[in-house]
Amino acid sequence: MVTGLRERAWEAAAAVKDPEVPVLTIEDLGVLRDVTVDGDRIRVDITPTYSGCPAMDTIRDDVELALIRAGFGEVEVRLVLAPAWTTDWMTEEGKRKLTEYGIAPPSGHAALRQAQGPVRISLGVRCPRCGSLDTRELSRFGSTSCKALYECRACLEPFDHFKVI
């Protein structure tokens, strides 16, 4: 019974979309960390992608609303910092949806990045529009905290790349 409740609560929370990348759910992003059921009380743990991410307030409200709409009465949404979010938690489904949306998904794993010294190399980033690997970074910082700005030398289109962190 309790397990069934938790699954229903997870399902409701997991369907909440990221307000800045509306094709991704918070589950795809790895922002949804845990759902616990304690009697009638549902507690949902979410974690910010970046410390200053302004979308967290909206996500928090949306999760609460989604659970209330799904029939849960007492809902608590907690923001937790540890363990720190990493792009490694993004689901394969999430990466596929990002590409379709026109954003290049994170390339490689966060651990590889951290193993490097002060001078970096980056892995090739595939253009989400034409698929070419002939791309270059225009700026390591983009339209939101989580993205860098790239351009494709094959189709000449600029695009966002979800940074590895």
Partner: protein
């Protein structure tokens, strides 16, 4: 800082609710309030450095040399504001003040920021020189703070370290570019480092507060070697000499600040003080 609390309800200034305090502690991952006045004080050291630097960088938006740089400095400022919010919330959990109380309603002498972050933006080279020194220090600091015996500090650091890694990378790239660019850009970055270098020493000074905190804090002097190794490597690559000159007196950790801080605070705080409780 958000004019709304994280529950989405309007948060009239000065009306610190129990919920807000609980949220402050839970955001940091510990579910507890700051353990002591010393812990809260150390949180102010770290939070104020991040807050003041964030405010400085925000002033570049629409003024940077290129659009991408407006975006980069704006994003770095946003990350720093996130770190500041976490630290200030934690600091305030000790005596019931909110992050906004601490950011907007403290006077200059109550701030604990270091002189380096208080140095003016100057030209782009000066901002980059300051940014390189601060982000190199912060990366060393947060790497070490991950091992803090204080769970909240460890959690904030675990998150911040990955972001500051990008900040240092950004600054390194610009130091190399300015040093290896035109005669003008090279002259400017040399002058910029000469101007800001003396203020870095304060970041590595130990203090009685640190002695009392033990393994909950990071001993500033322990970060010097890592900082030196990175600056030497980058300066060698950029073919720059480490600036000579004596260290500045500093005093920010005890409320004695560089000239620019008062102006910066008056601009940062004017709206909140003129219209207490303003929301949008």
């Amino acid at each position: 800082m958000s004019a709304h609390d994280l529950d989405g309800a309007i948060d009239p200034h000065g009306d610190v609710s129990v919920d807000e305090l609980a949220l402050a502690a839970e955001l940091a991952g510990s579910g507890e309030r700051a353990a002591s006045a010393d812990i809260a004080e150390y949180a102010l050291w770290l939070g104020d450095d991040a807050l003041i630097l964030s405010q400085q960088l925000g002033a570049w938006i629409t003024y940077a040399p290129e659009l991408e740089e407006d975006v980069a400095l704006g994003n770095i400022a946003l990350d720093l504001l996130g770190h500041a919010r976490s630290f200030l919330r934690y600091a305030g959990s000790w005596d019931g003040r909110s992050e906004d109380d601490l950011a907007y309603f403290r006077d200059e002498a109550e701030f604990r920021s270091s002189w380096l972050v208080e140095q003016p933006n100057g030209d782009f080279a000066q901002t980059i020189a300051r940014q390189f020194l601060v982000s190199t220090y912060m990366l060393e600091l947060y790497s070490a703070l991950r091992g803090s015996t204080d769970a909240t500090f460890a959690a904030i650091a675990e998150k911040a370290v990955k972001e500051v890694d990008y900040h240092r990378d950004h600054a390194v790239q610009w130091v190399l570019r300015l040093a290896g660019g035109t005669a003008e850009s090279r002259a400017r970055i040399i002058r910029a480092f000469a101007d800001v270098w003396p203020y870095a020493a304060e970041l590595f000074r130990d203090d009685e507060l640190i002695d009392r905190l033990g393994d909950a804090a990071v001993r500033p002097s322990s970060l010097q070697a890592g900082f030196d190794a990175v600056t030497e490597a980058v300066f060698a690559e950029a073919e720059l000499d480490i600036p000579a000159g004596s260290a500045s007196a500093g005093g920010g950790r005890h409320g004695s600040h560089a000239t620019g801080l008062g102006h910066l605070l008056s601009e940062m705080q004017v709206l909140a003080r003129r219209h207490p409780g303003a929301t949008w």
